[in-house]
Amino acid sequence: MKNLSYTLAVIISFLIIGFFATLRLDYQAQLRISFALLATLILVYLASRIFRRPQYKSLFRLSIILISMVITMRYMVWRATETMPTQYGLVAMVCGLLLFMAEVYGFVNTLFGFFININPLPRKPIAFNLDSPDLPHVDIYIPTYNEDAAIIRPTVIAATQIQYPKDKLHVFILDDGGTVQKCNDPDPFKASQAVARATELKSIAERFGAGYLTREKNLHAKAGNINSALKHTSGDLLLILDCDHVPTEDFLLNTVGFFMADPKLFVVQTPHNFVSPDPLEKNLDTYHASPAENELFYDVMQPGLDFWGTSFFCGSAAVLRRSVINELGGIAGQTITEDAETTIDAMGLGYSTAYLNRPMVSGLQPETYSGFIVQRVRWGQGMLQIFLLKNPWLQPKMGFVQRILYTNFAFYWGFAASRLIMLLAPPAFLIFYINLCDATAIDLLGYAGPSLLASLVSTQYFYGRVRWPFISQLYEVIQSVYISQGLWQVLKNPRSPSFKVTPKGEVLNSDFISSLTMPFYILLAFNIAALIFGLIRLQTQPWGEGAILFVLFWASLDCILLLGALGVTYERKQERSEPRVIHKEPVKLIFSQGRTVMGTTTNASTSGIGIYIPANPRAPVQISKTEEIQILFTERNLALRGNTKSIRRYQDGSLQLGMLYVNESVAAERLAIAVAFGSSNKLSQNNAGRHSGRSIFTGFLYLVKFAFAQGVGHFIFLAHQNIFKKIKSALMRNHA
């Protein structure tokens, strides 16, 4: 009864807010109220950064949601009722409606964001007794298709040294690249490659105590691969790891407890933690300072979804209950996002999900823009497929909120079309004179201004830690064209898309321009033309100054974003495919003569380590590159041997060494993996180091910097390739 009355109070309150949003006020009142609410919002935001006690958190969060809602809803109601360009002809009407729909999309997405983030659930691992006879058997599946064995090797090693009773831990490589079908490919070269790769994987499995499973034919992609493996294993729980997802040692210690506490639990998902930059981070050189792109989802959204019981299986770094998969008849394969699809099936049977926000894998991002697009198009298409083929509103036993949020998962990908419209709107108005919004400058100031600023403030509050301002827009821009295209395919034929593996571990030998760049040239050309037309119109049509200035600002922002996008498509050389993580641990370097030096690790990978040696004025350290050095990890009391590959001496006398391991034994290789990727604490610390965030203004400056440094770099490279080189070769020909 108490619950009901509170819930009713909330519903009525939201209705009142909705009603308030529809009230028509005069300009003065609208300006005063909206800017006063905006000022309050900013004050609450600032207060949230000062008063960090947990009990205040929810108050700040809810206040920010409610104030932002009031401001934004007033804008949307005004936009819907007062500004539709219904009197300027059919073209204006259609274009205006498209722009409005793009804005409605943004508004609904914001509401979904508020709903999801209203009370994130911070789970902590549940302790359990490792000696319990009821401890479940765990099968670790490492599905692979065509990835290099060097990528799979650390994952297998790390999986086999996960802390769990050895008799209950079973690791398997599920090799879809070594199927009978692949090994007997009509192309003899492909067949021989498949055989060689399979042999190598079998050898890795054998060397590190894992199983190797393959099958006859490559049916149903990853889902088919896992389902095939299910016939050969019998563990109570399944830990599924992408082949590049190197797990930490405590993975199962942190996750299995949830299954023992809740018999209805189907899956515990953990973050996909990446230790290599995605193409945006790589090409704009933001990797070391800015948080990873996927952290917004895994660090903010998933805990929010978990509160509503809607976190879902993301294909890797998750533990699943085998009995539920059996009940479902295996991993679902109707769509190309088998993970989310399987979750919705399990929810349909009444099972629950959980999310533990602790990074426990170290994975690789796609290196190239094209690889990134392949991955994102697959996700977008898959989510839309789920909505079309397994509509959450038609699934039994799902809660109302779960249905809404599953709808949101498909709806989210509408950002692509929305962003594309936003990029085309300024040219439509400034070049083609299409009136998209029937509003005056003072209207825009009173309604659009506060709404835009409120959106920036609330975004900064919720996501500022894991996403720099305006970087989201850049991600949206680089995905907009191809995801729109991909979603259109699904809408035409929901079953058409096929599973495309994300390419990882690519080595880029030289700089080049991505082949997918053309749409951005066109969009940029339109927006630059819009700027020129806008400036001319500003001179010749002073009566429309307010609106023209507003759209000019918009076009300028679009140009900056598009230049940034061109910076992303300017692919930089990357010779090293092996990821390297920040690592801090005391070490003692023991030289061949018995001389020792204390140092601290700075970074680590499977094959090497960076070590910082502080200055010692009394006994300056002399190191020879040819000398083999023993690296003793004092806290572990274990040592590895290595050669010095690089030495950098700082002015104060301190040294930075780059060491290459000499891993001649299994134990050494295991230790190297454990040092680099074994600790989830270290991964958390590494991520936290990139969570300082940026202010809205600084974020904007960074965006401008990216646009003008990398975007312009794109054009210089292009000019160099197409003009200077041609001139040079022509000169050489003449000379010859």
């Binding site: 509170y6 109220i33 509160f307």
Partner: protein, 745 residues
């Protein structure tokens, strides 16, 4: 259409013997009676409709006045007295010319010793005609004989419109009135401020006579066009000798042949069973006229008064006429005027607002102003103009769109080759339109490409802008007014009458006293003027049964039926709070520790203590409403009920006489208004004072917040604060329920 049908009926009637014993009379014959001369004096401010001083600027400037000359008076001496001031900078060549109907009658130098303008111009009466005469003052102003800047600021002459006046000595026209001069008898060009017309019956009118006199009132109102007219009801004496000729120059008598026997004595009547209309000069007078409507049956009285009510009927040049057949076209055949949609999203052409396709070719043209009714709170409007402009104008030429004096858009006329726009849209944003009557002004700014060059006469070039009447206005959004507004009556137009010619309108009198009747008739005449059409199908009655959509209740408050009294009990006050605005003219520093902070806050509109904006007096209305008159309007069961009331019949009559004058009537707005018949001001309770009942909850709340934004903000933030706490509690309960095992763990 109506007029055409009636003309046809009339001609047919005359051709086939409907006319009996027609008398041929000379038009406008002078009576042999001695004339009684009278002096009239009225200011230019009254004629010009503005009491602000008038400036004649630049080298060439002019102003035109219309001097009315009524048919019932013959001017003997007309003097135009002009008072004003002239610029010290004017030289000897500067002069002012006075033109009467296009003919120059006098020229005066503008360079005077004391720089005052003090002219007494005798206007030749032979140049004046009955009706409106154009009096033009044309100033030619110079400061130099050579190389003059035509718009030099020293070139001006100021005319004081209040002190300047026409002084007229006139004598009655002594005309022998005939039926074709009916319009002249009720002359809008009258020199009398608010003429009175007597409508007389033989006794207390019965229902048929009530209907008839209301139609007569409509005829009188229409003939006076826009000029306020008071109609007084009375009873005519049986003997002509007892006829009182006091304050009315024209009287309309209605009755049976027998009752009017004495008055019809000098008129030849063939058949006294036939309805008769006659005009005559009251014997023994030279300037008193009688219009006599004699009918034996209710139907005949209605026919006669209907014919009288229709302006434009081609009455013959006869003293009297028996009407054998007057047929009104069926209501269904009447064409509605161009319909102006009151719906919030309707679009309609400018011609529906009486704008006609116009070409502007003057550099200083005022442009056009249309008046538009806005029945909603907020909501925007779009003006979509169809226009063409001439080649040869400067690129700075433009057409400005102003709403209530505020500019909201401008249309460039910047192609030197000229051009046209089919559908140029200018949006008048929400908030620019106030509820009630609004003006939209189309103001052309036409600038020639070249002014002729230095030291050359100013060359206007080819200035030209045509605005077409098919340009449209469209309204969008807004919270619709849910109550009737008295301002609808004060605006000119035909917005309020949905049914043709008054169908669905009823006037209910509380009693048949002369004052109440006079009040009702005066109101009918006024509404006929405002609606610009007769209300032939309306009901004028003492019945208390009412089922019409538009009901006017007229009578003392105590005599109103209980159900009407109940409706307005909450509106009619027993005391009046008269607010007097206080204007702060200076700020005196008061010592305090936070003065600077308060100054800062005050600069953004937050006051330390709200300064009093109004003070006022609270007047107890002793007795029953005392000497005030009231008009109130409300929507009751879907019907608009308007009550015109006062404490007694006399106050009501004098209040109504005051109300119909230009000043009071134009101030009508909102749901309720009251005024002292002897005072200038009228106090209206507008919907801004009662937002919630007028615009519904949504519109009303919007209006209230607009008036009290800071209070609303405080309430909003308080609401958000409370909601935050409730929401937090709900989320905690949800978490407890859904994730209890997690918590326990």
């Amino acid at each position: 259409m109506i007029i055409r049908i009636l003309k046809l009926i009339f001609i047919v009637t005359m051709l086939f013997g409907g006319l009996t014993k027609a008398e041929e009379i000379n038009h406008l014959q002078l009576s042999e009676s001695a004339s009684k001369a009278k002096n009239f004096r009225f200011s230019l401010a009254k004629i010009y409709g503005d009491d602000q001083p008038l400036m004649l600027e630049n080298t060439s400037s002019q102003v035109t006045f219309s001097l009315p000359v009524p048919m019932l008076w013959t001017p003997e001496k007309v003097t135009l007295n002009i008072k004003g001031a002239v610029s010290q900078g004017l030289n000897q060549r500067s002069q002012i010319a006075i033109l009467v109907n296009g003919k120059v009658i006098k020229q005066y130098p503008l360079q005077t010793e004391d720089h005052n303008l003090n002219l007494a111009i005798s206007i030749p009466t032979e140049l004046l005609k009955v009706g409106y005469n154009q009096i033009k003052l044309m100033a030619s102003q110079h400061y130099s004989d050579v190389c003059e800047f035509t718009e030099d600021p020293s070139l001006w002459t100021q005319i004081n419109l209040v002190e300047s006046n026409f002084e007229i000595d006139a004598k009655p026209s002594n005309l022998i009135a005939t039926l074709n001069q009916l319009d002249g008898l009720f002359d809008k060009s009258s020199w009398i401020d608010q003429p009175t017309v007597k409508v007389l019956t033989s006794g207390k009118p019965d229902s048929a006579e009530l209907t008839a006199i209301s139609l007569i009132a409509q005829g009188i109102g229409q003939r006076y066009d826009y000029a306020p007219v008071t109609i007084e009801h009375g009873i005519f004496p049986k003997q002509l000798a007892g006829f009182n000729t006091s304050n009315s120059q024209v009287s309309v008598l209605l009755g049976s042949h027998s009752a009017l026997k004495e008055y019809l004595a000098d008129i030849s009547i063939v058949n006294d069973k036939k309805p008769l209309i006659a005009v005559k000069t009251l014997s023994g007078t030279t300037n008193q006229y009688l219009v006599i409507l004699a009918g034996s049956t209710p139907e005949q009285l209605r026919e006669l008064s209907t014919a009288f009510a229709l302006k434009g009927v081609p009455w013959p040049q006869l003293k009297s006429l028996e009407l054998t057949d007057v047929q009104l076209p069926k209501t269904d055949n009447l064409q509605k005027r161009f319909s102006i949609p009151l719906a919030p999203t309707g679009a309609f052409p400018l011609r529906a607002l009486e704008f006609r396709t116009t070409t502007y070719s003057d550099r200083n043209s005022d442009g056009a102003t249309v008046k538009i009714w806005n029945s909603s709170w907020q909501g925007r409007m779009q003006v979509r103009l169809h226009l063409s402009y001439a080649g040869g104008m400067s690129t700075q030429s433009a057409l400005n769109i102003l709403t209530n004096g505020i500019m909201h858009g401008t249309i460039p006329l910047n192609n030197p080759q000229g051009g046209s726009y089919e559908n140029y849209a200018v949006t008048i944003p929400a908030g620019a339109l106030k509820p009630g009557w609004n003006t939209i002004k189309l103001q052309p700014i036409l600038i020639p490409q070249s002014n002729g060059g230095q030291c050359q006469p100013f060359f206007n070039g080819n200035l030209g802008l045509t605005i077409y009447e098919d340009s449209t206005l469209q309204k969008f959004g807004g919270d619709e007014l849910t109550k009737p507004d008295l301002a609808l009556y004060s605006g000119k137009g035909s917005l309020f009458t949905e049914g043709p010619l008054g169908k669905g309108i009823s006037f209910h009198l509380t009693d048949l006293s002369s004052d109440t009747l006079s009040t009702g008739l005066t109101l009918v005449a006024k509404l006929t003027q405002m609606f610009e059409r007769p209300l032939l199908n309306s009901t004028f009655t003492t019945s208390q049964k009412a089922d019409t959509k538009q009901q006017f209740w007229i009578g003392p408050y105590t005599k109103l039926p209980a159900n009407i009294q109940n409706v307005f009990t909450g509106i009619l006050p027993d005391h009046i709070q008269i607010d007097v605005p206080l204007i702060q003219s200076a700020t005196v520093q008061v010592n305090g520790s936070f003065d600077n902070y308060w100054k800062l806050l005050e600069s953004i509109g937050i006051s330390q203590t709200t300064p009093p904006k109004l003070t006022g007096v609270n007047l107890k209305l002793s007795g029953a409403l005392n000497h005030m008159a009231f008009i109130a309007s409300d929507l009751v069961d879907g019907n608009t009920i308007t009550v015109l009331t006062a404490s007694n019949q006399t106050t009501l009559k004098s209040g109504t006489d005051a109300l119909i004058d230009y000043g009071h009537w134009s101030q009508l707005q909102g749901s309720f208004a009251y005024w002292d018949p002897n005072a200038e001001s009228l106090y209206a309770v507008t919907y801004a004072d009662a937002p919630f009942s007028a615009y519904g909850l949504r519109g009303g709340l919007g209006l209230w917040i607009s008036q009290n934004p800071w209070i609303a903000l405080l309430l909003t933030l308080t609401f958000i604060g409370v909601m935050t706490l409730v929401l937090r509690k709900v989320l905690a309960l949800y978490q407890q329920r859904k994730h209890c095992w997690t918590e326990e763990a």
